[in-house]
Symmetry: C2
Subunit: 348 residues, 2 copies
């Protein structure tokens, strides 16, 4: 990427182009010691404060996301709820218990106070439900036309309890892939709303905090939970390809095993989009030890947030060119690729 | 403020209207337990982790700010350096040692990669100089015209050492007000650049991390430092009025004592702006015990970042309607008011 190149929409899609921008421009420019090394959902910092009497100290998890979703209010959520849930979720899948959040606003001159209030009330409710406090914030205003409605940026800090260790390096051959519910509801709800698809009236974003699922999993399965991710931009496809690349192992999933929302599937077909690459905002994908997969599904089945959770695949052996393969419903095999840069701007 | 009102530019100015928006709309909407109580530069959270062998644990400070400055590159800095320094400074004046930062980008389609790289390199250098690591981030892209160049949002976490207590409630009658350098250089550099004032060629923003000043002050003066603030939007005027209102005490400053940058003063006169209300991005105002004021100035004089630091005033007795008064250079008295909402959008 040269100096005379320009930012394209696909640079923000969460796929291959986003990765290139981050790896070739952003990280090298930020430079040296202060580089966001692992591209994880949240950075887990060294122990903070002094160790307790047991000699163990919690670690601090820290994450941030900017939200630019259009429309600002969509079926099942709005930019406020989305921003809070997104940050809670990045902490949760890192094994952290959310402690506190910040919320920074960039507002367009002319924005209705009523809409701002609605969005913030929604953010407040979402924070309260997730058990996290919004403790600091910022408000900027720009001229009409200089931003589209509003940008909301949330950051969050959480504590990772001493015994919790999650990471690509803990994934083993034979581990199972568990998914908490059907794919693409967030992307399809937002896109249907934008495109005015009438048959999708009952389609709502899955936008929700996932710490109600991650906590019971981690509490009950302990070290048998190897790794978790919330498959947002780039969807399940991006999450699985990242796992394959980072572990150097093949990953295999079965299409039949993936829970389906029929309306989301119809919307995806109508819009020409792939649900595997579509954004979710209330799902988790967890890699767990083979022997714990059944219990993981049982635990998720008791969570209000899960919807037909299932074991959808497994981690294979080491490979020179690790691949994600999907056994299709009609008995074929499809290679699941990292989305290049989905064609869905401003989905979150 | 009713539902049918609209956001005005002045809501983002850091003055009276910003305060009304935050107090009447944002905080009530976010609601209940998760309210950013004290409107401080950073929230200081309860002790994190276990207490050490001395029974004392550090506290976590947490802050966020979105940056929308135009132009993106200005004399003395750019949006990247500004975003990093701004967050470091919010932590520093809260008594925290910066530990880690996040950096979230919203980029406009069509932005030059070269400009993005320049801004991020500057952010990386600023972070490195301030001794803090950028550990996590996010990148979103919106269509051309949907944001103006870029929005940068930084958040920061820092540790407040056990013995440090800063706050309005620690301010006493007779305490002195110490200022680290001349006012308004950031605002005047940005505005001069926008307005094309040629005689201001040597005017540079004061944009810099202030932890090189706050740390020696706190280390050497301890509890004699009562309170600190970095006077950004709303300037020294907003900072002093906040002190008067929060403590219920009059505050008096002397115009003659305030260090002056002649070019900034000339630019302010030309543009019809008040330096007292103009944004600074590398200054601190500190309230210190009367007996420590001289030492505070001595300490600041050894800091590269300070420029003719001075005792500029003092805290008076309790008052029913506490006021900030300035003894003017010609011997009069002027009441310093909270700026309503400065007429300078996108200064930071």
């Amino acid at each position: 990427m040269t100096e005379t190149d320009y930012i394209k929409l696909a640079h923000g899609g969460g796929g291959q182009l986003t990765r290139e921008l981050v790896e070739q421009v952003i990280l090298p420019a930020l430079g040296g010691p202060q580089r966001p090394g692992k591209l994880a959902d949240a950075a887990v910092l060294a122990a903070f404060g002094s160790a307790g009497t047991d000699g163990q100290a919690g670690r601090l998890a820290f994450t941030t996301d900017s939200y630019v979703v259009q429309p600002l209010v969509f079926p099942g959520g709005d930019i406020g709820k989305l921003a809070v849930c997104g940050t809670v979720n990045d902490l949760a899948v890192s094994g952290a218990r959310p402690m506190a959040m910040s919320l920074a606003l960039v507002l367009e001159e002319g924005l209705e106070i009523g809409l701002l209030r609605r969005v913030l009330e929604s953010a407040g409710r979402a924070a309260s439900q997730a058990g996290v406090a919004i403790v600091t914030g910022d408000t900027k205003v720009v001229r009409r036309g200089e931003v589209d409605g509003m940008v909301v940026t949330t950051s969050g800090v959480g504590e990772v309890p001493p015994a919790r260790e999650l990471g690509f390096e803990r994934i083993r051959q034979g581990d199972r892939i568990v998914l908490s519910g059907p794919l693409g509801l967030h992307a399809m709800a937002v896109m249907s709303c934008r495109e005015g698809l009438s048959f999708t009236a009952d389609l709502e974003s899955d936008c929700a905090a996932v710490n109600g699922m991650t906590e019971p999993l981690l509490e009950k399965l302990g070290q048998d939970v190897r790794f978790m991710r919330d498959p947002t931009r780039g969807g399940l496809a991006a999450a699985l390809v990242e796992i394959a690349v980072a572990t150097g192992r093949d990953v295999e999933i079965s299409q039949d095993a993936i829970p389906v929302n029929r309306t989301a599937r119809a919307a995806a077909e109508m819009l020409g989009l792939d649900l595997l690459a579509a954004a979710n905002e209330g799902r988790i994908v967890a890699v767990v030890a083979a022997g714990a997969a059944g219990r993981a599904v049982d635990i998720l089945n008791k969570c209000r947030q899960a919807d037909r959770p299932a074991v959808i695949g497994s981690v294979g052996p080491n490979a020179d060119s690790p691949l994600v393969e999907m056994l299709t419903a009609i008995g074929g095999r499809r290679i699941v690729q990292m989305p290049y840069g989905e064609e869905l701007p401003r989905i979150c």
